[in-house]
Amino acid sequence: MRFISFLALFFGLAYGAIWLHYLGFDRAKKSQELEKIASKMRHIEPSLSFKGASYKEFVYDN
């Protein structure tokens, strides 16, 4: 039983920490910055830096 309690405590603390990280991320600020730059570009395209098209096609569909 002690082992199960220890496991529950470990995962409880670890998931608590990542939950705090998840909630602590400033989404509003990021969204604002993305909007600011997107408003200049309008038609947005991801800024990728592959060596060639075949490298990109390894991951992306188009």
Partner: protein, 369 residues
């Protein structure tokens, strides 16, 4: 009935066979970590893109000549503007500039808010320029000669996905760098007030300018929704690695019931343990392993992707030509995690519980002999 004693005895047996259970735990954790990390990265990138499409024009027109991107003229712009249903057409100048010293390409984008002597750059571009000792200024080499612009701003890692490889300059400078004339454009942004007319107008533009391609907003959005090549490439390799690992894991799980373990079950049966207790013990042991491994896998993947910003794996998704100071938005798709849980934990448990039940109901004297 699962009693406290049964749970404690199951845990004792779990530690007795710790090498087998540790092997299962490690393989299971590896599979969950790998799948979760890739899902986290792809979801995060996709979410940032979808977040940024608010200003997407209704139709984007791009021209080609002999299969290559080509300029659009002022005359093309006027012909599109005259179409019924079109409220405005904006010509933009964008393109790519080859930085020969580093042998990499930069994306040149127009930004009218900048003054004529200034430019702002993405973090990856800044790093590449610094490598050639361009600290505050950068020289562009064009067919008409060299000209210098001052770097006034480096975009933050939070806009990395849009800006990392981009240089933003005044439209006049964009024309000079890319060799465009005053009445030439690389793209046209068409505004259509009635959303129901967008498809028809895109078709009309295709007919009007036969070498051009008009892409409606809906197609662009659909492209962002189906961004990744799930049927092949890295995802296919990922599926294969996970499938092979899972088969090894299941083989190990079956091994936990046959051989010496079969004898163990037979002894438990002969000293009075019922079939239900034996199955409950196996369920507790493997439930602890499966839940711990799944929990640990998701935990490691989260920390790797959203805290450490996915070193190495991000290069597969973003390319390795420029450096990436990225800030991935934490996005956790619980539906996909649940699906992963169902398709991993249930077979894992089934592959030990079903053989245990089969052994437990068999003739005990045969197994003990």
């Amino acid at each position: 009935m699962i009693t406290r004693n049964l749970i404690e005895y199951s845990i004792i047996l779990l530690f007795k066979d710790r090498s087998d259970h540790l092997f299962s735990f490690l393989i299971f954790t590896f599979i969950v970590t790998l799948l979760s990390a890739v899902l986290f990265i792809s979801d995060s990138l996709q979410s940032d893109l979808v977040e940024s499409v608010k200003f997407q024009p209704d139709i984007v027109v791009e021209n080609t000549l002999a299969g290559r991107a080509f300029k659009l003229s002022e005359e093309d712009l006027e012909r599109v503007a005259e179409l019924a249903g079109v409220s405005a057409v904006e010509g933009v100048v964008e393109g790519r500039y080859y930085f020969a010293q580093q042998r990499i390409w930069f994306d040149i984008k127009s930004d009218p808010s900048l003054s004529i002597a200034q430019m702002s750059v993405g973090a990856g571009v800044r790093e590449a320029m610094r490598a050639q000792h361009y600290e505050d200024e950068f020289n562009f080499f064009t067919p008409k000669g060299k000209f210098t612009l001052k770097i006034i701003n480096t975009h933050s890692p939070s806009t990395h996905l849009l800006s990392n490889g981009a240089i933003y300059v005044h439209p006049i400078n964009a024309r000079a760098i890319l060799g465009f004339g005053l009445e030439e454009y690389s793209k046209l942004y068409v505004s259509v007030p009635n959303p129901n007319e967008v498809g028809d107008i895109a078709l009309k533009i295709d007919q009007l300018l036969p070498t051009a391609k008009a892409t409606p907003k809906e197609d662009v959005m659909a492209g962002y929704q189906h961004l990744f090549y799930y049927k092949g490439g890295i995802f296919m390799i990922l599926y294969l690695v996970c499938m092979v690992s899972f088969l090894i894991l299941l083989k190990n799980q079956i091994g936990l019931v046959y051989g010496e373990k079969k004898r163990e079950i037979a002894i438990l049966r002969s000293i009075g343990y019922g079939i239900r207790e034996i199955i409950a013990m196996k369920f507790i042991q493997n439930g602890v392993v499966a839940l711990s491994a799944f929990g640990m896998g998701v935990l490691i993947a989260y920390v790797y992707v959203f805290v450490a910003q996915a070193p190495l794996l991000r290069l597969i998704f973003l390319g390795s030509e420029l450096s990436h100071r990225v800030e991935l938005t934490p996005i956790v798709d619980l539906n996909l995690l649940f699906l992963l849980f169902v398709f991993s934990v249930i077979p894992f448990m089934a592959f030990v519980i079903l053989p245990s039940w089969k052994v437990a109901i068999a003739d005990m004297s045969e197994a003990v002999r």
